[in-house]
Amino acid sequence: MISIQNISKTYGTAQVLNLESIEIPSGQSFGLVGNNGAGKTTLFNLLLDLIRPTTGEIVNNEVVVNKSEDWKTFTGSFIDESFLIGYLTPEEYFDFVGDLRGMNKADIQDFLTEFEEFFNGEILGKKKYLRSLSKGNQKKVGIVAAMMGNPQVVILDEPFANLDPTTQIRLKKLIKKLTENNEVTVLISSHDLSHVTEVCERIVVLDKGNLVKDIHTSQETLQELESYFSI
């Protein structure tokens, strides 16, 4: 379970994020939507302790993220292409991340075979460095790497962007499978309202750093969101 308490982030005089309290129970699929500058990536960066909160704290499964590093063992993430090491091949990258996440060679092999469909034959054995893969294929690598080593929390920023339609559908299946046993908490942000309503049980709308909607997903959610954003 993740608990976000009184978290705010200020750059100079500009406050980019100010959240009173959000509790994300274990196993929830949590969606974050909002226009550019709403604070989605800032929140994710705070969750990963990549930036320091101005006030408040985030507790990830009983670990205060900016006090201890223990959350790293059970949290997988992919924010953007700066999470990839451009001069490695996908295989080498998976080996590296797998190594860090306590997997051995055989574990990594087994893990990757599960994603054959998702990779669509475009990732493994192509003799290409990550830096020469297309944006969409880079994203596939990043997303899969975030799921290595049985994480309890998976954080994905804009996972649907740049993916082709087939892969988008496969990614939705993947996220649903990940959360079906209510063991893995998945946090995703997206600009695509229909994708996010389809895979997330709960959707939080941010606007200029503030929480404006906290919805338990239902049949009407997509419509509600569309009318909210079509101002």
Binding site: L48, D49, L50, I51, R52, E69, K72, T73, T75, S77, I79, S82, F83, L84, I85, G86, Y87, L88, T89, E91, E92, D95, F96, V97, D99, L100, R101, K127, K128, Y129, R131, S132
Partner: protein
């Protein structure tokens, strides 16, 4: 890298200013200009080889321009014109221009000297464009090296006197400056060939095609036996090998191996300023440690965020860099053994002390200084004359790295003796090595403290 470029410019300037008088002194019976004219052919071929190895092709990201109403001819002229202002074209001028000024000052015919200088400039620019035509063609490199070797050997064994053959050719430009226009002819011809070649390539096809890069994977599993550090060492090796800038740093460290030859042969340093020999001795085995170490951890800036969100111990990440610096320094030390034969035991002891100092003190000190590096480095930008990542830190660190051993040697050599001076450097290095774990702990803490600042700085693309 900036250091190297400045060093080259300064050296050329010195030769340009002092060359005339040096030749006059060494060969009183020869006209210095005639002498230079004799060896110019060697300089030209050497320049081509140097360019081939170091100069990057003039590139312009043409993609954004293809859709705009700009004539393709104009784009090509722009790319070719821009390349005329390359560092590699200015470097020889640092020799030719001062040399010409000295010649005029010594009473040579002004018009003649200007004609000669003009020809030299056109030849330098011709070399620039010739390089693009032959660029990245390995046969061309082979031919150039063979030509240079052949010219040298033929000349040395007096089968055919090259210098005597070419000296009057270039000399004739001095006596008949109008001949300098031949250089313009050559330059125009080469420019035209480049233009035709490039003009036919201004299509998106070539832009896309050039991006295809086949990954060459090497099995590094033997490193796994090193335990926890292994994944990082594997990454670092791949990083060095697969990125232009790091690769340049790696190869440059072998050039520094020859650095001592400049100093050790000169009696002046041996007798009057032995502390400067320490400077050279540190460089011989320290080329890699200094050039690579000064940018830790900026080498990993492209994916620093990812490293910081992974379950890694900072210690292992840093230790991997330390291993690399130590292993390469030790390797360079083995390669420096010939110094023993050429310059004697004293010099070799100095190199040994320098190696111990590099391994013990400098590698740890550079890791420590790295915690203050706040400039991003994009790995795949070219290595030569690339200053990205350089800041005041790089200039400040030179003080302890060079100053400490030079000072230690100077003090002990002055008041006790040569051997104790060498020993002082070695012992300082050894002490640092013994307390490595203590220092590593301190360094790790410093990095953790600077974590947010580093993440922020490394995500700033300039």
């Amino acid at each position: 890298m900036g250091f190297f470029a400045l060093y080259m410019l300064a050296s050329f300037l010195m030769i340009g200013l002092g060359g005339y008088f040096f030749i006059k002194k060494e060969y009183p019976n020869t006209d210095p200009l005639f002498f230079v004219n004799g060896i110019i052919i060697f300089l030209l071929v050497a320049d081509l080889i140097f360019r081939y190895l170091m100069q990057k092709l003039p590139v312009l990201n043409i993609k954004p321009f293809l859709g705009l109403p700009i004539r393709k001819e104009k784009l090509v002229h722009f790319v070719l014109g821009k390349s005329a202002f390359s560092f590699f074209n200015f470097m020889p001028l640092f020799f030719y221009i001062p040399f010409s000024i000295v010649l005029i000052g010594q009473g040579y015919n002004t018009i003649g000297v200007i004609g000669w200088l003009f020809l030299m400039i056109t030849l330098v620019l011709s070399a620039n464009y010739l390089n693009f035509l032959i660029n990245k063609n390995n046969y061309a490199l082979g031919i150039m090296v063979a030509v240079l070797a052949l010219l040298f050997l033929v000349n040395k064994y007096e089968i055919f006197n090259i210098t005597e053959f070419f000296a009057p050719v270039f000399q004739s430009v001095y006596s008949n400056p109008i001949l300098a226009l031949l250089g313009v002819l050559l330059l125009t011809g080469l420019y035209y060939l480049n233009f035709k070649l490039l003009r036919s390539k201004v299509y998106l096809d070539d832009v896309i095609k050039s991006k295809e890069e086949v990954a060459s994977t090497t099995d590094l599993s033997f490193i796994d036996s090193l335990g926890d550090v292994a994944p990082f060492i594997k990454n670092d090796i791949r990083q060095i090998w697969r990125n232009k800038r790091t690769k340049t740093v790696f190869f440059m460290s072998f050039l520094f191996l020859f650095y001592g030859a400049i100093f050790f042969g000169q009696e002046m340093y041996r007798e009057k300023m032995p502390a400067f020999l320490v400077f050279a001795a540190i460089f011989i085995t320290g080329g890699f440690t200094l050039n690579y170490g000064q940018f830790i951890p900026a080498w990993d800036s492209e994916y620093y965020k990812m490293l910081m969100s992974q379950n890694i111990r900072y210690r292992k990440f840093l230790e991997s860099k330390w291993y690399l610096m130590v292993v390469v320094s030790a390797g360079l030390y083995l390669l420096s053994i010939p110094y023993l034969y050429f310059y004697g035991l004293d010099i070799f002891l100095m190199i040994t002390a320098g190696a111990i100092f590099n391994i013990g003190f400098n590698s740890l000190f550079l890791l420590f200084a790295g915690a203050f590096n706040k400039k991003r480095i994009d790995l795949n930008k070219s290595g030569f004359s690339n200053y990205q990542g350089t800041s005041a830190t790089q200039f400040l660190i030179i003080i302890p790295i060079m100053g400490v051993p030079m000072f230690l040697f100077w003090i002990f050599n002055k008041f006790v003796g040569f051997n104790s001076g060498v020993l002082a450097i070695a012992i300082t290095g050894a002490i640092a090595l013994v307390f490595k774990n203590y220092f590593m702990n301190r360094i790790e803490k410093r990095y953790i403290k600077n974590k947010y600042a580093a993440i922020h700085a490394f995500s700033q693309k300039s």
